[in-house]
């Protein structure tokens, strides 16, 4: 302790003597995660841990203002959308360089997006680019790239779409659209994810597999005064409980996995608690899917009955208040969230009455799937008890995530799935992202993500219509259209929306910045914007 204090004084003195040098001191921070970083390849990485690191290593045509969901041009200096919504033209910033020193040109953008779509890349991002002309051929493994991306000169990229897509600018801001240099990808020979070369705010300096990654600020980043820290070290394989103990000792600055339930109340009620906990809303809904192709959930009344049966307040209490009860499919922060929608209130009587009407006065037996990481089995047990109160005996199957996903995508397999741990967190802040794969007919296929197997052709048509309104002037109209789609979907009750969980991050006392850059709606932790006080 004494040594630390001494060091602190020495540094303070140094700061007094040379005020200019002080700004470069102590700007190296430590972040911990339990899971190893799988990859930093922007066309492949797709988990919430590597998501924000990839964001900071690469740049894209579009990006968001830190801490918000407001789209801004990034690599693009300007852009233009044709009136029919089928042609997008981007002008690139001149003189932006990859960290290997080469200037970024239009063909790099084309190459990168084609790489995301090409099945040889084996990446999860292809589906987002479905509107670009030539997508089907490339996705099927044919050579020839995407004919819908044209590069008339080195600083111009033109996208030709086959259908209007109101989310297209968001699509160009997601990680899969990050610009990568072809020569570095090819030189890495499959290991690009371990040796990333980009043009973002940070560079990957060093990676000790299984232990730590060191990121250093990119001195040539094309935006001035970004980022605000000199470097950050990501330590992996760190148990969240231990990470917090280390954070309390000052060895760690951000505990990336958040605060485990067992430690939450202790920290929250501690003197420094308020400064250490960052607690913010995210675009998340936790729900139970009700399989509309499995008896008795094929009956609307049964689905409505179980919607009335869940005591969401109690589940919020089990989560130590780190969530709010959910009434509808969209999370409250999402454009299109319906403030006036009442949802299905908690009422055992109504639930029982509906069950009786449906011909199940004594309830029935069913199975509830959940993943096996805390607190999911506990929440599943809370749901199980609520269902028992209306006579529905649900057997819980707590399995590894991959097995639950497989069961959900197998027709007639899983009557109910608690989505916790796999829940839909939006890829980009637009309501359409909450429909297609998880509630549309396209997702209700073998291996799909629509685990309710809900397919309403009329809603699908309205969804397509809403996404065709790509004219920014029609933005409000489009959101209203989406709002009604989700409200109408809830009439069919394919889900029980249960909670909107807030994200909780623990940070050391020296970390500064608003909460919304630690829980950034589009990138989890915004490494570009966080700073040391």
């Amino acid at each position: 302790m004494f040594k630390r204090w001494l060091l602190g004084t020495a540094m303070a003195t140094a700061a007094l003597l040379t005020p200019l040098a002080a700004s470069a001191e102590g700007k190296d921070i430590v972040v911990t995660y339990k899971d190893d970083i799988t990859t930093l390849d922007p066309q492949i990485g797709y988990d919430w841990v590597n998501w924000s690191m990839i964001k900071s290593l690469f740049s894209r045509l579009m990006d968001y203002e830190p801490g918000t969901a407001n789209l801004v041009p990034s690599l693009a200096e300007s852009f233009d959308v044709a009136p029919d919504g089928l042609t997008y033209t981007f002008k690139l910033h001149k003189g932006v360089k990859f960290s290997n020193g080469r200037e970024i040109v239009a063909s790099d953008v084309k190459y990168s997006i084609e790489r995301a779509v090409d099945p040889k890349t084996q990446g999860p991002g292809a589906g987002f680019f479905g509107a670009i002309d030539g997508f089907d051929d490339l996705a099927a493994g044919k050579d020839g790239g995407l004919k819908g991306i044209e590069t008339p000169d080195d600083s111009t990229v033109v996208f030709k779409l086959t259908r209007p897509d109101a989310t297209f600018l968001h699509v160009l801001a997601i990680n899969f659209a990050s610009v990568v240099p072809k020569e570095a990808v090819e030189a890495a020979g499959g290991d690009f994810g371990k040796k990333p070369v980009g043009s973002g705010t940070f560079l990957l300096k060093d990676w000790t597999i299984g232990q730590k990654l060191v990121f250093e600020r990119n001195p040539d980043y094309f935006v001035k005064d970004m980022p605000k820290i000199d470097s950050f070290t990501v330590e992996v394989g760190q148990e969240p409980l231990v990470a917090l103990l280390r954070l309390q000792k000052g060895e760690v600055d951000i505990a990336g996995d958040g605060i485990p339930p067992a430690k939450f109340l202790e920290i929250k009620n501690s003197p420094d608690g308020a400064q250490m906990i960052v607690d913010g809303e995210q675009l998340h809904t936790g729900y139970v899917t009700l399989n509309t192709k499995v008896k008795p959930f094929d009956d609307l009344k049964v689905r409505q009955a179980v919607n009335h049966a869940i005591n969401k307040e109690r589940i919020v209490r089990i989560l130590n208040g780190r969530a709010t009860p959910a009434k509808e499919i969209l999370p409250p922060l999402m454009p299109g969230y319906d403030n006036d929608y009442a949802g299905y209130d908690y009422s055992v009587e109504k639930a029982k009455a509906l069950l009786a009407e449906a011909g199940h006065p004594d309830g029935f037996e069913t199975v509830l799937y959940a993943t096996n990481t805390d607190p999911q089995p506990r929440i599943a047990q809370a749901i199980q008890q609520d269902l028992a109160a209306i006579g529905v005996k649900a057997e819980i199957r707590a399995l590894a995530q991959g097995n639950v996903i497989a069961a959900g995508g197998t027709e007639g397999e899983a009557p109910m799935i608690w989505s916790g741990g796999m829940a839909w967190i939006a890829d980009f802040p637009d309501p359409s992202n909450f429909y297609g794969p998880i509630l549309g007919c396209g997702g209700a296929v073998q291996g799909g993500w629509n685990w309710s197997w809900y397919c309403n052709a009329e809603l699908d048509e309205r969804a397509v219509a809403a996404d065709s309104m790509s004219d920014p002037a029609k933005g409000a109209e489009r959101i209203a259209a989406w709002k009604s789609i989700f409200t109408d979907a809830m009439k069919d009750a394919p889900w029980i929306p249960v909670t909107n969980e807030r994200r909780v991050v623990a940070k050391s006392l020296r970390m500064g910045g608003e909460n919304n850059i630690y829980i950034d709606p589009t990138r989890v932790i915004n490494y570009d914007a966080i700073f040391v006080k």
């Binding site: 339990k34 899971d35 190893d36 799988t38 990859t39 390849d41 492949i44 797709y46 099945p119 040889k120 084996q122 990446g123 999860p124 991002g125 292809a126 589906g127 987002f128 479905g130 089907d136 996705a139 099927a140 493994g141 499959g190 290991d191 690009f192 994810g193 371990k194 000790t208 597999i209 299984g210 232990q211 330590e235 394989g237 760190q238 148990e239 409980l241 231990v242 103990l245 280390r246 000792k249 060895e251 590894a400 995530q401 991959g402 097995n403 996903i405 497989a406 069961a407 995508g409 197998t410 839909w424 890829d427 297609g436 794969p437 998880i438 396209g442 296929v445 073998q446 291996g447 993500w449």
Partner: protein
Amino acid sequence: MVILLCKRLAQAFLILLGVAAITFVLLYALPADPARMIAGRSATAQTVASIRHELGLDQPLLVQFWTYLTGLLQGDLGRSYAQKTEVWTLIAARLPATLTLMAAGIFVEVVLGITFGTIAAVRRGSFVDRLVMTASFVGVSAPQFVAALLLLYVFAVTLGWFPMSGYGSFAHIVLPALTLGILGAGWYARMVRSAMIEVLNQDYVRTARAKGLSSRRIIFRHALPNAILPIIAMIGIDIGQFMGGVVVVEAVYGWPGIGQLAWQAIQQVDIPIIMGVTLTSALAIVAGNLLADLIAPVIDPRIRTS
């Protein structure tokens, strides 16, 4: 002896082949589609099919296994589905940490086990004996996670004697090795105790004692060697435990071992990594048991090399 060795090596090879085959079939039977996991939530059926083809998962099981085996014989464990990196790179990066922890953990177990097992056997029925035997139960009944966190809390957080987490120096290994050693020493202590008592009760020892042989001589010449065989067999078994199942201790101390890699791979259905880790640990286990079987006759000449 040479013939025996060759025979056993050939058998070890067959065992590894068997492990590879069974694991491959089990993973194939696992209802989770790797192509679907890779393709993500927004993928079309077309994309999934293309990825499945890229991975060769659309081929018959036997063809897939043959492809894997031919790669294996050339020392190629394939590339990870999720990380795309060579599986061998990932394993090689973590193997030193695993082997170090294994050696340190077994060392602590054996030292504690022999010391306390001997004391208990010599003082059979005394208070010390009962204490040691009860302690051995506390060790094996303790949940790993809690034991590891308790040690961490006392010696790293409160006393600050050791670093809380990490890998690299001697100080880093003390707590993880102690945790594993304390939890496992109970087995060794009990094996040693019962093996030694077995000898101490034998007629020739009684005779020796009656003839006035010092008890130290009796213990080290007669009783302890009798306990060596089960200890060696136990070490062979422990290698298996340490190669596969110290995920919890690794996680608590941030130890970059193979266990954490395997655990994450299982969650992601990353078949090449699961296969690679399984084969690596199987290799270590088979080698450990082979050594145990070969050493036994050297130590106890009564066992003929059959």
